[in-house]
Symmetry: C2
Subunit: 416 residues, 2 copies
């Protein structure tokens, strides 16, 4: 095994030496002694954030006070940050708004999509979709009298081609949050449209990690969070994309005052603002929103195709480590080996995944796990290196070899 270790170590060094994106790592403040492979749960701190947030607090809030809504651009922030996110989604300006949580945005999108297909009776989602998406689909389905049908992504195209004429909306993620499997957004969106249904995508595990082409693929709705690959900070505001062609016929379930056409007119009835601004709800959490805005500058000048190529190289290398070092020790990858079907994390199945995650953490390697038995290794090509992945694999190898973990240990789960 020493040979395999040495070979993989050298390969990591070689791959990192050829990494044209390595300087991007300087855009993050990563702590010494930590190998961070959990950016798909919480992105690390971008270097610009402390100064920007300090200014937002001390000058904008502290000195300019309420005037900042006008003079420091707070009022426009949800649309401005929405457009900045839109650039990473392949969305032209004016279709994305930042704010609220992914759950609230998902609720908004599900209701709005269903309202656009009032004669249809089915809401279709992935049985393996992220829990909040499923819970909200159940709630929206019950509230609107729609039947919720669970169809795995692999079965969706035939399902839609057969029964699609009853489907109002399909709600999926391009990347499975457990296995890392990447689905074909274009093919699934096209199948939805052939059936006359609308497509809603949850981009939490895709935005910032992959090039996305919402406009080109004619996606109808998309939502996502700001705190994973966008590195916007813990619980950073989410976003909602609505294709422009739907703006004039939107019926949104949460008509908040900031989405009013004349928000300061105090008029008795609700008149939605034109465009995506109608999807604003209440007063947005400006400090979290400005931290997210600053974090997005870590993508300035970055070619998402190059970023994706490096991400693929990172996961490819980790899968090689898994095969050569870890498979003999009882680990089995559940992530596709075909990189065109892989997102930006790799999940290894092991019965002691929870305890191993803790053992890795005690050695400074941060990954996470998903119950009951998946150890999840996320990569973000903005700052991760092949060496990071070699370290993770090497530590896992040593931990198992030396039985340096407590198989019955448990800790509360970490936030996805």
């Amino acid at each position: 095994m020493m040979t395999a270790l040495t070979a993989l170590s050298r390969e990591a060094t070689r791959l990192d030496a050829g990494d044209a994106l390595a300087p991007l790592r300087e855009r993050f403040l990563l702590p010494d002694g930590v190998t961070y492979l959990d950016g798909n749960s919480l992105g690390p701190l971008p270097a610009v954030v402390p100064q920007v947030l300090g200014d937002a607090v001390s000058r904008q809030w502290g000195t300019d006070l309420v005037r900042s809504w006008n003079t420091n651009g707070w009022w426009e922030a949800p649309l401005r940050v929405g457009d900045a996110i839109g650039r990473l989604l392949g969305a032209a300006p004016g279709q994305t708004v930042a704010g609220d949580s992914t759950s609230v945005q998902s609720f908004t999108a599900l209701n709005a999509a269903a309202a656009l297909r009032p004669d249809r009776t089915l809401l279709v989602t992935d049985p393996g979709h992220f829990p909040s998406d499923r819970y909200l689909a159940q709630a929206v389905g019950t509230n609107r009298g729609l039947e919720l049908r669970y169809v795995p992504p692999a079965a969706l195209v035939p399902f839609l081609d057969a029964e699609g004429d009853r489907v109002a909306v399909v709600s999926y993620s391009p990347v499975d949050f457990r296995t890392g499997e990447l689905h074909d957004m274009g093919a699934l969106t096209d199948a939805a449209h052939r059936a006359g249904a609308l497509a809603l995508w949850d981009l939490c595990h895709a935005a910032g990690a992959l090039p996305l082409r919402l406009d080109d693929l004619h996606v109808d709705f998309a939502v996502g969070c700001g705190y994973k690959f966008l590195n916007g900070g813990p619980g950073a505001p989410a976003y909602l994309y609505v294709a422009r062609r739907h703006h004039k016929s939107l019926e949104l379930p949460l008509p908040g005052w900031t989405g009013h056409a004349d928000p300061f007119g105090l008029s008795r009835d609700y008149t939605p603002a034109p465009g995506i601004a109608q999807a604003r709800i209440g007063t947005p959490p400006i400090l979290s929103l400005l931290a997210l805005e600053a974090a997005l500058t870590a993508f300035d000048g970055v070619d998402l195709t190059e970023l994706r190529a490096k991400s693929v190289s990172l996961t490819e290398f980790f899968l090689r480590c898994a095969t050569e070092l870890l498979a003999p020790l009882g680990f089995a990858s559940v992530t596709p080996s075909d990189h065109s079907r892989r997102g930006s994390h790799v999940a290894l199945r092991h019965p002691n995944a929870r305890a191993l995650t803790q053992a890795l953490a005690s050695r400074g390697v941060i990954v996470d796990m998903r119950a009951p038995d998946l150890l999840r290794v996320g990569v973000n090509a903005l700052y991760n290196t092949h060496e990071h992945l070699f370290e993770a694999a090497h530590h896992l190898y040593s931990i198992i070899r030396d039985a340096d973990y407590d198989p019955v240990s448990s800790q509360p789960g970490l936030v996805t």
Copy 2:
């Protein structure tokens, strides 16, 4: 008029000299040269916030990274901050959750209240309620097939005594956001209960300004924002109070993953967490939430009854200034002179309210206005002085006397 000015100036000095709460002002970082009378729109920066937020960013996010959900108490923050707010509401622990916006919380509360009265057909609200509350009541009414009835607070008790058996929920604010009129929460809540209806209060303009007694008054639901008298920062997270007696029968419209009984179990169906935790929705904006938590320490050791007494003294003094100095110049107060019917702001009607608000700002006195003609002067007894109110009145007097304003000027409204 010189005599009145001199007398009022001396009276301000005298009242401030006897102000036992004056040292609380040191808990805020207020800019030099600014007289801030708009804390009912955006509270100023509490002195502890920059350090706390700096630590949240650099140490908790930057160094501890995703582990902070456990090790730095991020996961419990919505309940911990909720309880801290609850102390200002007269709410025992375990009934208040912080998060989302007032609009989202209002939507949640309206739906949950209506679901507890499934056989009733009316939703009753104030025609002068804050726009978002009205828009959401309209949306919830339409969605649930409830008729929305507008009844002014003064007419609510007789209305409920006559037609209350059809009413599911009454949704009101104790303080009118325009006139500052304070309604009798106890009497209105009792009337709702006599009719078998539930009471929902929007506390945006009351919490932190007045002693509140939600538990004692048997209020059912309450919501409010974190950024006015709670000083939590721009768009600070809102909160939802649900009386404990309703927790076991709640049906919430937005079942997000963080409100699940086993949020990391990834189970297929939604099982609400026990207690108020079921009202958590998505991942909360931690930076904004921790800023709010820090801001709430400005109330540590403060007796809300004393704070209210000072607030009454401040508004009383400003009303005296209005009567003696400003009424002859065309200003008319729309705020009750009876302090038991007055919240923590005074609104003066003047046809040039917008231009006068700008003229005051150019002299360093920040107030706000509400269309079309109300100039709104908010006081927060944590940091305002009688001298501040004298300055505001004196400047208004001078501006009118010298015609030192542009009556046709206009600017976008500021956020309420």
